[in-house]
């Protein structure tokens, strides 16, 4: 009897003890919490890949396209363009404009911050993770954070530097804006760390183009140095890539093959870093650039003025023009819309809209180097590089310029024109215009004014031009919602 009682008691105790444990367990059943994460190197890798996944977010790429192209001179609106988009094209940018929302960028930055903050703790939990591997993962996070802040620097000028992971509500910080110089310093800090640890290769072509390699870091650094007019450093970074002998220009003899390799397939030998859209994760460009209700088409002047047309010989054409960047007949932005090029041009269908987003290509490295060379008195070398790009592309004589090799301004102007052809619709146009024109206290601002007034209606021309003459208007306003939630943020002066 006593035994039975004892056993019963024991049973109850055991049952009670175990059930209580479950009952008190408040961890989510369908997810994983941080204390249980960051244990293995697989989890670390998953977190890093998560950063790349966040880059494929629709609104992020759409923002990059809008920020980089709409204030330029190469896209025009259709009847389906949204008001916010038209207002950017006509420089009527208010803080209520949805494209001033920077949250897609900061979301990715937060993923990077999370990896940077918690990644190192994996080292204590997973003995199979080496220090080198950890650093390589961290380098990817640092590089992407640097790249994201570089986009913010060029788009907004002054932005708050959020460098800690916001992993719980209590950690939401209200931080003021940092100056452009501080943002630049932070970008450089991140990139310097990334440059030391990023791997040269992942042993796989697609991963090499889709993840941060050391060459990607060099490329971002070159771009950033050039933005801040640090020409020697820019040249050094470009040379690191050029001398690696791992990259080259895709042959342009056959336009169809060139288009297929470089743009349709992507991840070519010319590519340095691309956002890897695929059949599972389509890009937002079907709605934006391809479908019957698309928002943007190429400006009607693009073929005439940018690429040139040989009226006598239709076979003599710049491969980057008709069939490369645009479809000359209806202005479709072919870089993202084309499935084929050359003699038969077939458009991508909605389930084929996975053209990559090209962040850096080898051609970019060559032209960045050329731009830096022009400013350090090596003009002839710069012209040689430009000609290399032009030869590959079968550029027409009509678009050839012969600037004085000793005039960095003239060469820069040529480079700006050449970049318009080479990187048409790759989200670089406005940044190129701004970088080249703002140099030496806006010495070449007339180029910018010509570009921004080209496609605005005549009745707005003077207003738009005078707004752009105020250089503070070259950076977007901070979105009004951000100002509401963070009283430490101050609106950029032009929009106050």
């Amino acid at each position: 009897m006593k035994h039975i009682l004892f056993i019963l008691l024991l049973f109850i105790l055991i049952a009670g003890f175990t059930s209580c444990k479950k009952w008190l367990d408040v961890k989510p059943q369908d997810g994983i919490i941080r204390n249980n994460y960051w244990k293995t190197k697989e989890q670390l890798q998953a977190a890093v890949i998560g950063i790349y996944a966040s880059l494929l977010d629709n609104s992020l790429v759409q923002d990059l396209f809008v920020w980089g192209e709409l204030r330029g001179d190469m896209v025009v609106s259709t009847q389906f363009t949204s008001n916010d988009e038209i207002n950017i094209m006509q420089d009527n940018i208010l803080p209520s404009n949805s494209y001033t929302d920077w949250s897609p960028i900061y979301r990715t930055i937060n993923y990077c911050n999370t990896v940077i903050d918690f990644g190192p703790s994996v080292l204590q939990n997973d003995p199979t993770l080496t220090e080198d591997q950890l650093n390589a993962y961290l380098a990817e996070a640092y590089a992407i954070r640097g790249l994201m802040y570089f986009y913010l620097l060029r788009t907004f000028g002054e932005v708050p530097l959020q460098l800690k992971a916001t992993s719980s509500d209590s950690l939401i910080q209200r931080i003021p804006k940092s100056t452009q110089q501080e943002v630049y310093n932070q970008v450089m800090n991140d990139l310097h760390i990334a440059q030391i640890y990023a791997p040269y290769t992942y042993g796989d072509r697609n991963e090499d183009k889709g993840r941060i390699t050391r060459y990607t870091v060099f490329a971002i650094e070159a771009d950033t140095y050039l933005w801040m007019d640090q020409y020697d450093s820019c040249i050094a970074m470009c040379d690191s890539i050029i001398n690696s002998q791992r990259f080259g220009l895709v042959d342009g003899t056959n336009q169809a093959e060139w288009f297929n390799t470089l743009y349709y397939q992507g991840n070519s030998v010319e590519s340095i870093f691309e956002f890897q859209f695929d059949q599972q994760k389509l890009n937002p460009f079907y709605n934006l650039l391809i479908s019957g209700t698309r928002h943007f088409v190429a400006a009607p002047t693009v073929m005439d003025e940018v690429f040139g047309i040989d009226m006598t010989d239709p076979n003599n054409k710049d491969i980057r023009g008709d069939g490369g960047s645009v479809n000359a007949i209806d202005g479709t932005i072919w870089k993202y819309a084309g499935a084929t090029s050359g003699s038969t041009m077939i458009m991508r269908t909605s389930d084929q809209s996975y053209a990559h987003w090209f962040v850096y290509r080898y051609a970019d490295i060559l032209l960045m180097k050329a731009e830096a060379l022009a400013w350090v008195g090596r003009g002839q070398e710069a012209l040689d590089l430009i000609n290399m790009i032009r030869t590959r592309a079968h550029a027409l004589d009509y678009t050839a310029e012969s600037p004085d090799p000793n005039s960095p301004e003239d060469i820069s102007t040529y480079i700006l024109d050449e970049r318009a052809r080479e990187f048409a619709y790759e989200g670089k146009r406005w940044f190129d215009i701004l970088r080249i024109c703002k140099r030496n206290n806006y010495e070449l601002i007339n180029l910018l004014l010509n570009a921004v007034t080209k496609n605005v209606p005549g009745y707005l021309q003077q207003t738009v031009m005078n707004k752009y003459k105020d250089v503070r208007s070259h950076y977007l306003p901070i979105n009004q919602n951000e100002l509401l939630v963070d009283p430490n943020l101050k609106q950029n002066p032009f929009y106050q």
Partner: protein
């Protein structure tokens, strides 16, 4: 026992008292109840909220009695001057406070700053706002850059300090100066400016001074209530060889009576006056504008940043135009706008010249060397060439073929379900005059019973005869055929390439016109349009004919 009951009663009573007291205490506490659905203030309320900056304007509203209607619901745009602005205004007119100003002046001032619509800065242009202010004048906007800082300027008088403040009954833009109405009519404005002394004399001599000296509200002719004058300064006239009004009169006054509408000096002045209040932004928004000379237009365009008028290609010859000066132009008057021409211009006497228009010579196709004159291309409704207005559902096809002039033609499916009911083309520039209109096409039947009868109209005026794309041309001598309204248009002549006379049209203005094909009967795709010819009635209608290279061949 009794004591117990008493105690119990006391206890209950105390409890009751406590409950009553508690309820009273609770009742005394004010429960915040929101009676309004929104705490957004109206314009008057906004002024009350910011007495530091806007007390003076609030005071004005009180005097004029406008505070009530600006406190009620509505859709207004208010350009709101700050206290500093109003004080500066008071100083300027020599008054010490707003109470010293005549109430009618104040009422006018308030109305001048108010518009009956909500306008955000996104709808501002280089020119006038889309609605009149309540005073009855147009306000203008422009972004101006001063020392690298850009402001939006209103009426060239005030900068906007704070924009797009949304209030319950509209939107407020805060400005740093009081806006003042234009004081002078166009006539006075020109007379007061010594730049225009010769032009003023011309205005007076021709009687247009009076036309330009009427306020819009008092003008019996509503068409002429708002006018725009493109004045020529003395220096421009001197450069053109007119050192004085007498010289100008000597040159133009052919009838000796400048008041006569047929007198050339009269025409010269009338040609400088346009209908409507046209700021430069409005002038560049349209390609031509009517002048007070009946049926004479000036054409306008924006080249780079330069506004040009009458810069045209006539009969293949480019005639350079006249630049409108930005710094002297865009001046508001009570009844319109004053513009300043940097060159001398006048009505050109043009004799009508024939327009042999190959409809396939348009830039959208000519810029495609791989297609132009080489292969067919279909234009859908999404990428229709700019000179075509096609309501859909069908598009047009560019096609190549031998014998056709320039080796190409336009296939325009027309007529009923699945095909567009009509189609419009913008013509090249046609000088005013009387023309015979010939439609040149390749006869083609889409099917044995197909037919496609079209009425042709120009600027909405139907021509006398219909034409049918499936009709074969009758044969005969040139003269016989012309008598029946037919001719060969290709070289060498070919029976299936027909040109049909659809009528005679009196083109009223030297301008681009719109020709429209409206299908009356039948429907088919194979409407193969090659050329449209406008030939002055007194000219040879049969020659030239055109070969496949587009070269003309004369008799």
């Amino acid at each position: 026992m009794k004591r117990d009951v008493i105690l119990k009663n006391i206890f209950i009573g105390a409890n009751l008292v406590f409950i009553v007291l508690f309820l009273i205490w609770m009742g005394c506490k004010k429960v915040p109840i929101v009676y309004t659905t929104s705490d957004v203030v109206n314009i008057t309320g906004y002024l009350d909220e910011h007495p530091d900056t806007f007390s003076e304007f609030r005071e004005i509203l009180k005097i004029t009695g406008d505070e009530g209607f600006l406190g009620a619901y509505g859709t207004y745009t208010l350009f709101l001057p700050t206290n500093d602005a109003i004080n500066a205004y008071l100083q300027k007119i020599g008054k010490s406070s707003v109470n010293d100003i005549n109430i009618d002046t104040l009422k006018a001032l308030v109305r001048f700053h108010l518009l009956m619509d909500t306008l955000y800065t996104t709808s501002f242009t280089d020119g006038k706002l889309p609605v009149l202010n309540m005073y009855g004048q147009y306000l203008t906007t422009l972004a101006v850059n001063e020392n690298g800082i850009t402001h939006i300027q209103v009426n060239r008088q005030a900068y906007i300090i704070q924009s797009n403040i949304r209030v319950g009954n509209g939107v407020i833009h805060v400005i740093d100066h009081v806006l003042e109405p234009a004081k002078y009519t166009l006539a006075q404005l020109i007379e007061n400016n010594p730049r225009y002394s010769i032009f003023t004399q011309a205005l007076k001599a021709t009687g247009y001074y009076d036309t330009l000296n009427i306020l819009p509200s008092q003008n019996p002719d509503t068409l002429e209530s708002w006018l725009t004058v493109i004045a020529e300064s003395d220096s421009v006239l001197q450069a053109a060889g007119f050192s004085s009004f007498d010289a100008l009169k000597a040159r133009y006054d052919n009838l000796g009576n400048p008041m006569d509408p047929n007198d050339s000096l009269h025409v010269f002045v009338a040609y400088h006056i346009l209908y409507g209040a046209l700021y430069l932004a409005d002038i560049v928004s349209s390609s031509s504008h009517h002048t007070l000379v009946p049926d004479e237009v000036i054409t306008s365009k924006l080249v780079g940043q330069t506004v040009l008028i009458n810069d045209d290609v006539f009969n293949g010859v480019h005639e350079p135009g006249v630049v409108l000066d930005r710094s002297f132009g865009d001046i508001s008057a009570t009844n319109g706008v004053l513009q300043d021409a940097m060159g001398h211009f006048t009505v050109k006497v043009r004799t009508p010249f024939p327009v042999y228009w190959d409809v396939c010579r348009f830039p959208e196709i000519m810029n495609l060397p791989q297609y132009y004159q080489k292969q067919n291309y279909s234009f859908t409704l999404n990428n229709m060439p700019s000179f075509i207005n096609d309501p859909g559902p069908s598009g047009v096809n560019y096609k190549v073929g031998t014998t056709f002039v320039y080796g190409d033609y336009l296939e325009i499916p027309l007529g009923g379900p699945g095909r567009s009911p009509w189609i419009e083309f913008k013509t090249p520039l046609i000088v005013k005059g009387k023309y015979k209109v010939w439609i040149c096409y390749r006869t083609a039947k889409g099917c044995g019973s197909c037919t496609n009868v079209n009425q042709i109209s120009i600027d909405g005026v139907p021509l006398q005869r219909t034409m049918n794309f499936t009709t074969y041309m009758p044969t005969g001598t040139d003269a016989q055929m012309e008598a029946q309204g037919w001719k060969y248009y290709t070289y060498p002549p070919s029976a299936n390439w027909a040109s049909q006379l659809v009528g005679t049209i009196d083109i009223k203005t030297t301008d681009v016109h719109v020709i429209r094909f409206t299908t009356l009967q039948g429907t088919q795709n194979t409407n193969w349009l090659d050329m449209i010819e406008f030939i002055p009635v007194d000219m040879d209608q049969i020659y030239p004919r055109f070969d496949q290279q587009g070269n003309p061949h004369y008799q």
